[in-house]
């Protein structure tokens, strides 16, 4: 129970006179410790040669996802760094999705949809391109390397293109090294495989 004098302080918070010493450091307002520098830890752990980028790939259900499938069926080799997230249309991929993936520790994010004239929902692919333009500009300003995000149009018939894009993208991101954001504010958790029991 605070002393009476304390209780009678006038309305402090929003009308508080600035510049004065904070009255008291409460739990909510106390200083927090320095962040741990997760970036440094990850660079160390990966070493220079051993860095394997974590890639998130948003792939449209009607084109790029089947292309990835076809690449698998045709036994085309490509690096396994990407976790593919299937979406119904690349037009759904708002900058928020890409930023969230980066925030949670992705080293690179690929958005792959249909060619403009092929989009299952007519204007979705154009929307995807517009959205991506914004995403790319934001990422450029953040200074983490514009090559960390990539937009592609890969139709269901272009399995070799899918494999080629994966090769290139993983190489590009490897050159950039781990994202400075990786693990700084959260942790990207990707389940290895969904087992029977958990479904």
């Amino acid at each position: 129970m605070p002393k009476k004098a304390e209780r009678e302080t006038e309305r402090p918070p929003d009308a508080a006179s600035p510049g004065k010493k904070a009255r008291r450091k409460s739990v909510l307002w106390r200083e927090i410790p320095e962040p741990k520098g997760a970036h440094a830890a990850r660079v160390e752990e990966g070493g220079d040669g051993g860095f394997e980028p974590r890639i998130v790939a948003f792939a449209c259900n009607w084109c790029s996802y089947p292309a990835a499938d076809a690449a698998g069926i045709s036994k085309l080799q490509y690096p396994p760094n990407a976790r593919i997230i299937r979406v119904m249309c690349a037009g759904r991929i708002h900058p928020g999705f890409v930023l969230r993936a980066l925030e949670l520790g992705a080293d690179g994010v690929l958005v792959s949809g249909c060619h403009f004239e092929d989009c299952h929902y007519l204007f979705g692919a154009r929307r995807a391109a517009e959205q991506f333009e914004k995403t790319a500009e934001i990422v450029r300003m953040l200074g983490i390397g514009p090559e960390r995000v990539r937009y592609e149009q890969i139709s269901a018939a272009e399995a070799p293109k899918f494999a080629k894009v994966m090769h290139e993208f993983v190489e590009d991101v490897k050159k950039l090294g781990p994202s400075p954001l990786a693990g700084a504010t959260g942790e990207l958790e990707v389940p290895e495989a969904v087992s029977e029991e958990t479904t």
Partner: protein, 391 residues
């Protein structure tokens, strides 16, 4: 996003905020709900019922209540409450509590803005955010004054489809500073001020942003930080000292600096056609910080510009409809439509905003073609407008 800290119990904070905000003195007159712009359209929302839940300590009910996030934090209810209850403080604390307990509001823009802000807490970040600086503005590498740009470079991209040009606003602000004889420094790696995360209840990430900004300002050796964004201003002037104590530099709002320069005769405007304008008081500048006259002094100093105030202006101004990128709903659109109609009824042809978010939100409302045809209003940013009329 930082996980809830172990062993930290915010219940004590809540008890403290209940006392400091005087919430226990509420006599349930209902005036807050009566005047609230959200409650006017959204019948499920009542600030009073939130207050009652907080007073009764119904924690679980608070965590589940979507209405915790519906408030615009405009402080209109504060101005009206006969018991002088500080809803601003109460809401801030309730949200921090709910956030800590795992509750989350719905981010309007797919969480893009919040993600961007949390990303900026990264220490190692080296942004490239000043590529818009060109010959039209004069900035310096050293000096005693910093112009805090705020999130304008990012907003300009994220909200491009609303037609809001937040960078024109920032450039205008710097041109005005130049005209007033100030050549400001810009921080190349400035972070978000943290305003939105703070009002979203994410106090921890707010503090990280604040600390990065304070560190950079200290390293720059500046003794004065000029802010044009009302939210950045309120946050730096009130919330930063609350966390970090004495800042060691002065925080000034651009309106104050310019109004002084106009008074002293060092800043003049030239005529550039006759126009009638009305002014949207930003909640942060007005009710939060008590600045009403300075922006009006700037408008009145422009030859040919006539200012007509709306019936709801100054202390009674109505918010632009969304706060902290959290609560854009059809009700926001109703609030905005009502506000734009009110602006139109003054006979003004231009509604002047002084906050990037007011500009974004009100321009977004004009994406509704029917409303646009009906009100036929221009929306102009104060800094861009004033800079275009410099003598």
């Amino acid at each position: 996003m930082a996980a809830a800290e172990e062993g930290v119990d915010l219940r004590e904070e809540m008890a403290d905020a209940l006392k400091k905000s005087r919430a226990l003195l509420c006599y349930e007159c209902g005036k807050c709900t009566g005047i609230c712009p959200v409650a006017r359209f959204d019948r499920s929302f009542s600030p009073r019922s939130l207050l009652v839940k907080a007073v009764r300590g119904e924690d679980a009910a608070l965590v589940d209540d979507v209405n915790v996030w519906s408030c615009l934090t405009c402080k209109l209810c504060d101005a009206r409450c006969p018991a002088a209850i500080d809803y601003g403080l109460l809401t801030k604390t309730v949200r921090a509590f709910v956030h800590h307990e795992g509750g989350e509001g719905t981010c309007t823009h797919g969480g893009a803005v919040q993600a961007l802000m949390r990303i900026m807490t990264t220490k190692e970040l080296e942004q490239d955010r000043l590529s818009w600086v060109d010959d039209s503005i004069d900035v310096s590498k050293t000096g005693d004054t910093i112009y805090f740009v705020g999130c304008a470079p990012y907003f300009d991209v994220v909200f491009s489809e609303t037609g809001a040009k937040t960078l024109d606003s920032a450039k205008g602000a710097i041109r005005l500073l130049n005209a007033a004889g100030v050549k400001p420094m810009l921080l190349p790696n400035e972070r978000c001020c943290g305003h939105d995360l703070l009002w979203n209840g994410d106090v921890e990430n707010f503090r990280m942003l604040a600390r990065e900004n304070l560190r950079m300002i200290e390293e720059s050796g500046a003794s004065r930080v000029v802010v044009s964004c009302p939210e950045g201003y309120a946050t730096m002037k009130v919330d930063y000292p609350r966390v970090f104590g004495d800042l060691g530099f002065e925080v000034v709002h651009l309106t104050e600096l310019l109004a002084e320069a106009i008074d002293g005769g060092s800043l003049t405007f030239a005529g550039n056609g006759e126009t009638t304008v009305t002014f949207q008081d930003p909640c942060r500048l007005g009710r939060h910080m008590g600045i009403y006259d300075a922006p009006r002094a700037i408008l009145s100093a422009m030859p040919g510009v006539t200012l007509v105030d709306m019936p709801h202006s100054r202390e009674r101004a109505i918010c632009c409809g969304v706060g902290g990128w959290m609560n854009c709903t059809s009700f926001s659109k109703m609030i905005q439509a009502a506000r734009l109609r009110e602006a139109k009824a003054t006979g003004a042809s231009t509604l002047v905003t002084a906050c990037p978010k007011c500009e974004i939100h009100l321009k977004c409302a004009l994406n509704d073609q029917t409303l646009k045809d009906e009100v036929q209003l221009e929306i102009a940013d104060l800094w861009a407008l004033a800079a275009s009329r410099l003598g």
